[in-house]
Subunit: 589 residues, 2 copies
Amino acid sequence: MESHLGEDIRARAVGAALGNEPFDLVLAGGTVIDVGTGELRPADVGIVGPMVASVHPTGARTDSADWFDCAGRWISPGFIDMHVHFESSMLTPGQYAAAVCPRGTTTVFIDPHELANIAGVEGVRYAVEASRGLPVRFVVQAPSCVPPLPGLELSGHDLHAADIAEMLSWDEVGGLAEVMDMGGVLSRDARMVDIVAAGHQSGKLVSGHAAGLTGPALQAYLSAGIFSDHEVFAHVDAMEKLRAGMTVELRGAFDFVLPLLVEELGRLPEFPTHLIAATDDLFAATLLEEGGIDDLLRRLIRYGLAPARALRIATYNAAYRLQRTDLGVVAAGRRADIVVLSSLEAVAVDDVFVDGRRVAHGGAMLEPVTEAPAKTPLNTIQVPPLTADDFVYRLPGVPDGRHRLKVVEGVVMTEWGETEVDVVDGAVVIPDGYLLNVVVHRHGRIPATPVAGLLGGWGHWTGAVATTLSHDTHNLCVFGRDPADMAVAANAVIATGGGVAVVGEGEILALLELPVAGILSPLPAAEVARLQAEVGAAAQAIGLPPGPLTQPLFSVMLMSLACLTGPHVTDIGVVDGTLGELVDDLVLS
Amino acid sequence: MESHLGEDIRARAVGAALGNEPFDLVLAGGTVIDVGTGELRPADVGIVGPMVASVHPTGARTDSADWFDCAGRWISPGFIDMHVHFESSMLTPGQYAAAVCPRGTTTVFIDPHELANIAGVEGVRYAVEASRGLPVRFVVQAPSCVPPLPGLELSGHDLHAADIAEMLSWDEVGGLAEVMDMGGVLSRDARMVDIVAAGHQSGKLVSGHAAGLTGPALQAYLSAGIFSDHEVFAHVDAMEKLRAGMTVELRGAFDFVLPLLVEELGRLPEFPTHLIAATDDLFAATLLEEGGIDDLLRRLIRYGLAPARALRIATYNAAYRLQRTDLGVVAAGRRADIVVLSSLEAVAVDDVFVDGRRVAHGGAMLEPVTEAPAKTPLNTIQVPPLTADDFVYRLPGVPDGRHRLKVVEGVVMTEWGETEVDVVDGAVVIPDGYLLNVVVHRHGRIPATPVAGLLGGWGHWTGAVATTLSHDTHNLCVFGRDPADMAVAANAVIATGGGVAVVGEGEILALLELPVAGILSPLPAAEVARLQAEVGAAAQAIGLPPGPLTQPLFSVMLMSLACLTGPHVTDIGVVDGTLGELVDDLVLS
């Protein structure tokens, strides 16, 4: 991975450090957060071009082309987000950068897993191309699990070891992304073994996904040569992984984990370098309202972690994991990716410098962000217009009358349930308190035949929601009780090339257009956030429950996740994620 | 750099971790030193082939082909020596490995700087070839400064950026070695800039040598993109470098630095990951009698550093610097490079495992070490037999009579002095209390014309010492007062293809033959150590002062170091290391 600065710049920096020529810029009068030693030290930071040329006693140098007053403020290295699917924001790379940069994130280790599931290698290439030259440094990972569970769901593409090896050969690609097919890893599934081997052979990082792994299974997963995880659901889980030598990519998704983890960390004789920070999946609305890495750090500090230690996680530790000697500290010779904070405790980001240029102030970019030309995946929804009849739940071969059915109980975290239904004229009458979930393959690889299942525990709905942003395969997922409403919602997102639609009484109540790959909007973050809020509110108005995640809409977007335990409806059928198999017959009697 | 384990081994390890098949070996009943968290934790370590497959509660697993009892003992990752010129031991790679491995060193980041100065790229290739398959993992660096000071001394080869780039392209080469031409770096000397650029462009590590650099000069050196140093002479020096974000490769050479540094480290809020361990230059005798990395750790612990923290420096921190995820911790999925200690405080190494194989016990290798075939540099002394007349100090154009001369005062750390001499029949009469130092180019690139200078402060000598191991260019250096003795000593080492000879009253008192490149012996470490002691004792008997370094002989071996400050005699002339220039005329009057 190319990370070196040119020798011409270094020559100027050496000259400036020696005092033979002025700096381009000095950040003056602030307190540098030395994330390596944990000290807070008054110092001035001399910058030449994209790099720090000198960190010296306050006022020691008076020759600079430009000055930036940091009096009373703190100077931190830029934050590094070590595991993120930027697609979950629904923003394109440029707008994503514009959303996270003003909050201090200057480098992101992204896994374009969603784009890859839709557009394959070309989807990853789009992420690489569109992220070039942005004010946030994108280090791209090669998605490892496309699709996550072959045979149980169908993506737009199947990526095999050769595809992975090709992506890993690109300079912009820094590693193999979270290997989420834990079952495949532990059972030594040939395809998965070859994919992980491609990661190892590249000499680049291999990242993991070790949800719920403990004891022998955790040791086995590590033995497969996968040394990181972001799926920590409890502090004991996190501590077991840290003690096993696994790098924990700590995310803020489950806030209840953090206070207890902070307490445990305080009891360790040594603070692990293998604890780093991540955001994983966040809506644009969450990024703008609460923040990303800054929000995580803020909470960690609130729960008792020393501020310099919190920052260390997101800077120094991250750079070590990323094997980037040019990042992670405010020190001579390194890239001038710098965050100026007005409050250390509150991680209040005032100003952000990337490669020596001030790019953000007061929560906003100083200049509009422009994306490099890229081959954007458009028109990816290969589904003809649907009719109300496509959303009638039929059970082939089952006569009219009363029957007992297996149903999916729960929101995202599901289990099998049972209910009685009436079949009238060959169609299931959706019982009170239940919802129909229809999934339609949208990538054109098999006919777009609706697959249906009943959901329990979703409350009473008076309308329908359709979404083409639906992890991990992003097929068209429709939720509702009324076939006509469901068809209107589905056709709305088909017509716009993808998106999220909420329909009530035959009318479109809210529509978030996501024409890029059917999951991203080209609009600015604030606009997307507004639409997310609007769609979320409309969905809640027609019955969507709050759900367990940061945003209610995540519930519909994650219901097709076959890699979770419990039953889920996919484009292929109703699958049992725990057993990893398709369930052919849902009719019990 | 190739570091991955094969997927076949990983498959077996996954199976064993899961309990589906037995381990090959379990280290049972010991206490694992968790260098990541600083905890000491009872645990068993299951090994499969070359790797750790599981670290689990003591006794949790009872199925293993083999067992190794660690009851009452500590289990540490193997030690990593992050900066070493193995040539200073005078051992070939195999014998060097046999010397350090039983003391716990399992990986060495070597700089074959001496071999490169003698034999160029082929010298480095010899180090690569001869170190393959040894029980110590050699990661080789490309020597950056061959010769260290062009124009002031002549090596066997001049290496330029193209040579460096070639070596950096080899899989076995992990980085650019200590960039010791600090002046060239700071003045942006074109040759040095190109060499450092080759390091940066390779994407591999670039290591430094920042002796005495402080303030602006240190910041400038860092700005050149060189982020490590082992030349710390004081705790304040070390702390300034750590605070500047520079990785400190801490060595034990200057013991007085350590207690104060331990005290300073204890005051830091956070322990830096960028503090690592190194031995730099140690005789075989020192390695066998006192130790290498183990001796450094032992002293650090004695001075108050927590044992787990001391070990962290030489394991976890080192692996991060080396960017090797397979090393540095005792954890599933990593290489089973493991040290079993009977005393943690005393760093008492009982057993050493490398790649899962027990290779050493009780201070000795379990099997003889065999070197891989390599093209060994022999017959490298290109100097014809010399006569007593070659060791007569003449001052061309200076008439007989009394004259005032500039002389070199001091042992290794030198300064200019003056003295009066008589010139009789064109020859300088060596005054009482002075020594003649004659250096002869030995690489055949210029005529082997003796260059002479007077040394003060070396006591009263009754014989002569000749050495072809003489940093950094390893020309033939002869010390004495009697031309006949000096010629006998010189001819002894010329005849043996290099070495160190001590002569008194015309007789060879002791001879250490170093036929490999004129600096290494093919003999086992114990034999070389015995000869080093014998030669050292003989040299002290004829007048060699104890000197400031670990071994008295270092004084003669380092007197030609033009890169040190002060005056030194080289094969080209008497040079001023401070000014970086040749001093043409030593006659003051």
